[in-house]
């Protein structure tokens, strides 16, 4: 039987297929280069209705050079009819995941974390600017059908562990290139216990193990989530398939983890780094900036005061509005955190919380590469609960509920 990737792409692993794109999107970072290349190709836009542009990487613009580049892209969107999610709408992967992607679709994004949307049972993968320009010109792309690494999940998360800890655990087990050219398939009874937000977090880190996408089979949770956005979907049948590699993870045994500088696959139990001095905590990004994350963070710090600079950035306008309605935002602001506008924030080291030389950040994001958040800065990656405990302690600390 075929893997989910083979089923969606309609061919066995190893074959190259040309596929019409169901949805393709680029952001203010990759869109500029894609537009330049698209104009060099000199063909008309093939299927504008399938394309999206979303501004998230540096929003609002941090200087006039960025603003000018964004203005050019904005003009292109208005002239060509490509729907634009402008400044303030949120991170592309989050916004697309708010009803913009259905199970079984082929979704291409000009950003490496497009794999996030594999959580809906869609073949979602990232490409560079030239591939995106070619998609604008032809409406299709070619894909090599990947082999699949199966990750069987059993049990249920507990002991203060979150989907983020599961993600750090599998990336560390596979290694930074352990799934290169492959798809990941998360399945088993444990997968069903994860919320949609948790699945998105889990799929988000697939690229950190080199994978093309991180797939969950659409089930009742997926369909109920999509129904909330007025999108109809059916569950995907789960069948046995031929896998290139298989791993078992007992969610009950996953403990709160921290990936230390400068590798994502360096996760260790939070106890081993507890007490590490930090200068900043950052909660947000396409990994952990969803409403569930903000509410979890707010619940942990409500009525208390953070002891270290803490930046909280909702992943989308919808998340921000939800956090206002639920009172999470009030708790976050009153605890002394700084809230930024929906977008990627300081994750890519451009604005809104860049680190200084020698500064250390505990972040809920997905990359801790050298100098990523600022030259000479160091990044530790962890869950929202660990971020909250660390904000309150002023140093890296285990989350509430940890053994």
């Amino acid at each position: 039987m075929p893997t989910l990737a083979e089923r969606i792409l309609g061919a066995p692993a190893g074959e190259c297929v040309d596929r019409a794109i169901d949805v393709a999107y680029a952001h203010d970072g990759t869109g500029v280069l894609a537009l330049q290349t698209f104009r060099t190709i000199g063909k008309p836009l093939a299927r504008p209705g399938r394309m999206r542009l979303l501004f998230d990487h540096i929003v609002p613009a941090n200087n006039s050079e960025t603003a000018t580049l964004q203005a050019e892209l904005r003009r292109f969107a208005h002239e060509s009819g490509v729907p634009l999610c402008d400044v303030g709408e949120g991170i592309c992967h989050q916004v697309m995941g708010e009803g913009g992607v259905r199970p079984g679709e082929v979704v291409i994004g000009a950003d490496s974390h497009t794999c996030t949307l594999g959580a809906f049972g869609a073949f979602a993968t990232g490409v560079g600017a030239t591939d995106m320009a070619a998609i604008w010109a032809t409406g299709e792309t070619w894909l090599r059908v990947p082999e699949t690494t199966k990750i069987s999940l059993s049990g249920e998360l507990g002991g203060g562990a979150e989907a983020k800890d599961l993600a750090l655990a599998y990336v560390s087990r596979l290694g930074m290139d352990g799934a290169t050219y492959r798809a990941l398939e998360f399945r088993g009874e444990g997968a069903a216990t994860l919320s949609m937000a948790g699945r998105l977090t889990c799929s988000n880190l697939a690229i950190e193990a080199g994978a093309k996408t991180g797939l969950f089979y659409a089930d009742r949770t997926t369909c109920e989530y999509l129904a909330g956005f007025g999108v109809e979907a059916s569950p995907q049948t789960v069948e046995d398939a031929d896998y290139a590699d298989e791993h078992d993870i007992d969610l009950g045994a996953v403990e709160p983890l921290v990936a230390v500088p400068h590798r994502v696959d360096s996760a260790r139990p939070v106890d081993r780094v507890a007490g590490t001095a930090i200068d900043q905590v950052f909660v947000g990004t396409c990994t952990n900036g969803r409403l569930e994350d903000l509410e979890r963070f707010a619940a942990a710090i409500k009525g208390r005061r953070v002891r270290v600079r803490t930046v909280v950035i909702p992943a989308s306008r919808r998340v921000l509005a939800g956090a206002i309605r639920s009172g999470a935002l009030e708790a976050i602001v009153e605890a002394g955190c700084t809230v930024g506008p929906p977008g990627c924030g300081p994750c890519l080291g451009m604005h809104l919380g860049v680190l200084g030389e020698g500064e250390v950040c505990l972040s809920t994001a997905n990359r801790n590469f050298r100098n990523r958040m600022g030259v000479g800065g160091e990044v530790y990656l962890a869950s929202v609960g660990t971020a909250a405990a660390s904000s309150l302690a002023g140093e890296i600390a285990p989350p509430e509920g940890a053994a």
Partner: protein, 157 residues
Amino acid sequence: MRLAGRAIRLPPDIDTDMIIAGRYLRTKDRSVWAARAFEDLDPTLAGRLRGAVIAAGPNFGCGSSREQAAVALREAGVVAVVAPSFARIFYRNAINLGLPIAEAELDCEDGDPVEVDLEAGLVRAGDRPPVPIAPLSPRMRAILGAGGLVELLKGTA
């Protein structure tokens, strides 16, 4: 396609942030990317890339999809990149831009003359025996042969 250059060895898991840092991305001036390539790894490296064959460790180009990484190497005059494995988005980007890359286990020292023969599927450093290059798919050969995806698409009116 036969290419020759001097080897510059690089460690495993070179990410695209390391090839070109995020702080240099917001421009359309490609010379900036070439001038700032590998700045956080070794600020002197960019000046030595012209005519070089990068001989890297596994998983070259991991991380961000930023195509500016592959553009930077091409603009800086890198002849080819050889590594035991590449992160897949970087791999696609390089082929799409016509930057020759070769998956091979190349044993060499800094400064060794390296010959990359993509047709024969062999790469050789100095006097060492040649080692095989993992074959490119026909699709990738066609893109690389056309000089990149843009040129290939322009050819199909």
